[in-house]
């Protein structure tokens, strides 16, 4: 090899090269697939996420043959028509919504205050505070639920297990999620906006009311929505703290053994639809505004 000149080597390399061929449809297709492989995996992951939701919605239109709603039988809207006449469902839904509303309000207020303290102030014990906020998120729900039950039992409050104890528990585990969500928003604020307000002679109160708070508000709203969905959907902790009270997830859990009626699927479908509307409509409006501007 070493005796070859550069030209000779180049000539040899050219001779050894496969002749150039226009890429065929198949190879172009496969190259496109290969370069988009990550997107395909992502689409697969989304599909994985949504198949059960699709099944829940689809089977709300099923007319099950027996008490179990697992096999497709026949299209029917009877579950949608009858959903509000099933008192078990409406009662449990009412309790769930009540609990979720109260715990959302309290947890959002308490969590937002903490988020401002952590996000806006330097104080002794900041690390400890952060740890205490992180702990409930890093504790299995079974442990939190059984701890709370133990507390209520040792305080001889076993008889008063019900809505109040459920709400107490839901506020407890929601606070951390509110803090984390609002804190992220506060951390992302541009402090020059506040400085600008104060340069324009706004005092601290006015600056907070007219600049800081409105800027943080989307974070607070997102946190409240998160808290609501966490509370509304919670089963494990509720299972320990509910006594005889039946929330909607508790109702489904109880019904799972004897067959979940399609009416429960209707509620699931409605919740999904409502949440999508609440989340997507502002997004779409923003998109339309942007495209007009």
């Amino acid at each position: 090899m070493s005796t070859m000149t550069i030209d000779e080597r180049r000539a040899q390399a050219l001779a050894e090269m496969p002749p150039y061929r226009e890429p065929g449809v198949f190879s172009r297709g496969s190259r496109w697939v290969r370069s988009h492989i990550i997107q395909f995996c992502a689409a697969g992951a989304l599909l994985f996420m949504f198949i059960p939701v699709f099944v829940v919605v689809l089977f709300s239109f099923n007319l099950p043959t027996g008490k179990y709603n697992y096999v497709w039988n026949q299209f029917s809207t009877s579950a949608w028509v009858n959903v509000w006449s099933d008192t078990e469902i409406t009662n449990s839904l009412t309790i769930s919504i009540e609990v979720a509303l109260i715990s959302t309000i309290v947890a959002t207020v308490l969590g937002t205050l903490i988020a401002f303290a952590i996000g806006r102030h330097n104080f002794r014990g900041r690390g400890g505070t952060n740890l205490l906020i992180f702990m409930p998120m890093a504790t299995p729900e079974v442990v939190m639920g059984s701890s709370l039950l133990t507390l209520f039992v040792l305080a001889q409050q076993e008889g008063s297990l019900g809505r109040i104890t459920i709400t107490i528990a839901h506020i407890m585990f929601s606070i951390s999620f509110v803090v984390v969500t609002v804190k992220a928003r506060i951390a992302g604020l541009d402090s020059r906006l506040e400085q600008a307000a104060m340069d324009l002679y706004a005092d601290e109160k006015t600056t907070f009311a007219k600049v800081t708070f409105p800027l943080v508000l989307p974070g607070i709203v997102a946190a409240a929505m998160l808290a609501f969905s966490l509370s509304f959907d919670d089963f494990v902790i509720t299972n320990f703290t509910s006594g005889q009270t039946v929330t909607f997830p508790m109702y489904i859990w109880g019904a799972a053994g004897r067959g979940i009626p399609p009416e429960a699927n209707v509620v699931g479908a409605i919740m999904f639809g409502l949440a999508l509307v609440v989340v997507l409509v502002p997004e779409i409006i923003r998109g339309v505004r942007k495209s007009r501007a």
Binding site: I38, Q39, A42, A45, L46, M49, F50, P52, V53, V56, F59, V71, V109, L110, G111, L113, I114, F116, A117, I118, R120, F123, T129, L132, P136, A138, P140, E141, V142, V143, M144, S146, S147, T150, V153, L154, I171, M172, V179, V180, Q195, M198, D199, Y201, D203, E204, F235, V236, F240, P249, W253, A256, G268, A269, L274, A275, L276, V279, L280, E283
Partner: protein, 334 residues
């Protein structure tokens, strides 16, 4: 509430200085913290202490006078011994929970990473929409969704038939069915991870259910840390002739580690204690720690044993998380 005052502003608003004494400033954060922290103290810290106290007490809820005795001089460490014998040695429920949760976490990471990567780098103007899609399944009751897996994986249904026909179930069954060579594995999966002809009521169904349930908890932290990566680092790597794969392995992935750590923790911890998937998708022999604790509290009424189980689960998780976080070298999680 104090916004850091701009240098010029403070001098221009003397009223502000007079109205709020300097001392108040120092207390502001504590005033803001107190109500929430009190709540967490009373309903998170104290219950945890009570749980430990209960785990060292004697008595049962459903027999005798239903009360519990705790004495400092007579701590009932035997509750922990009983829990250990019952749930680690006699039936490997403890190990089973951890292994199921580990496999589910690995599965979740593999599924969530491409999704988070696509949203962070390849989604363009669809980014917000895709993020909404990731959290959207949350809005349908997770019990209903878990239950929907019963429909999807129903015996001789299309999904199971397909997995059977391509030989996947047979393969998984044969590969994971190791009776003698690895006794501790065989103890956890006595009949392999799945049956050759069905998925429901096998460990596979429970693991897939767990992976499914906690997918958003993995995707969102992954997305958050990928999103923060300066894309120029990746460009620099490819400019220096690294292949796309090398650039990913040496630049993108290491930079996304905080998200990987946060996501795996947020998946593993709840998965290890979850009672729902094992109950709805598994068979009786797939019972996990969550089910055991639940049963001891609700059916047996042996609160001290149940409390010892809970405390044990928490202790093991704290130990594992500490080692893991040290290894991964990311101390800041929140």
């Amino acid at each position: 509430m104090s916004a850091a005052p701009a240098p010029g502003a403070a001098a221009n608003t003397p009223a502000d200085d007079v109205a709020r004494p300097v001392g108040a400033h120092k207390w502001t954060p504590y005033v803001l913290l107190t109500p929430g922290m009190l709540w967490l103290g009373v309903f998170f810290i104290i219950p945890t202490v009570m749980l430990v106290k209960m785990s060292l007490s004697s008595g049962t809820a459903f027999s005798g006078d239903g009360s519990f005795t705790f004495s400092r001089s007579d701590l009932q460490w035997s509750n922990y011994g009983d829990a250990w014998t019952k749930y680690v040695i006699d039936t490997p429920i403890f190990q089973k929970s951890l292994i199921y949760a580990l496999i589910a976490t690995a599965l979740t990471l593999v599924i969530a990473y491409p999704l988070a990567y696509t949203i962070a780098f390849k989604s363009g103007r669809w980014k917000n929409f895709l993020l909404v899609l990731v959290i959207a399944p949350f809005f349908t009751s997770f019990l209903l969704r878990t239950n929907a897996w019963q429909t999807i994986l129903v015996d001789s249904g299309p999904v199971v038939t397909f997995m059977e026909n391509i030989g996947l179930l047979d393969f998984l069954h044969t590969v994971t069915n190791i009776p003698d060579s690895w006794p501790s594995w065989a103890q956890i999966f006595p009949d392999g991870i799945t049956d050759p002809n069905r998925v429901l009521a096998t460990p596979l169904a429970v693991i897939v259910g767990l992976a499914y349930n906690f997918l958003p908890f993995m995707t969102l932290p992954l997305y958050a840390s990928l999103e923060r990566i300066d894309i120029r680092f990746i460009e620099a790597a490819t400019d220096l002739y690294s292949s796309a794969w090398t650039a990913f392995r040496k630049v993108t992935f290491p930079l996304s580690l905080p998200g990987v750590v946060a996501g795996t923790l947020l998946t593993f911890i709840p998965a290890a204690g979850d009672p729902v998937n094992a109950q709805l998708l598994g068979s009786a022999s797939d019972a996990m720690m969550g089910n055991a604790i639940d049963a001891q509290f609700k059916s047996t009424g042996n609160y001290p044993l149940a409390a010892a189980l809970s405390a044990l689960l928490m202790a093991v998780i704290v130990a594992m998380v500490t080692v893991y976080v040290r290894r991964a070298g990311t101390e800041e999680l929140v």
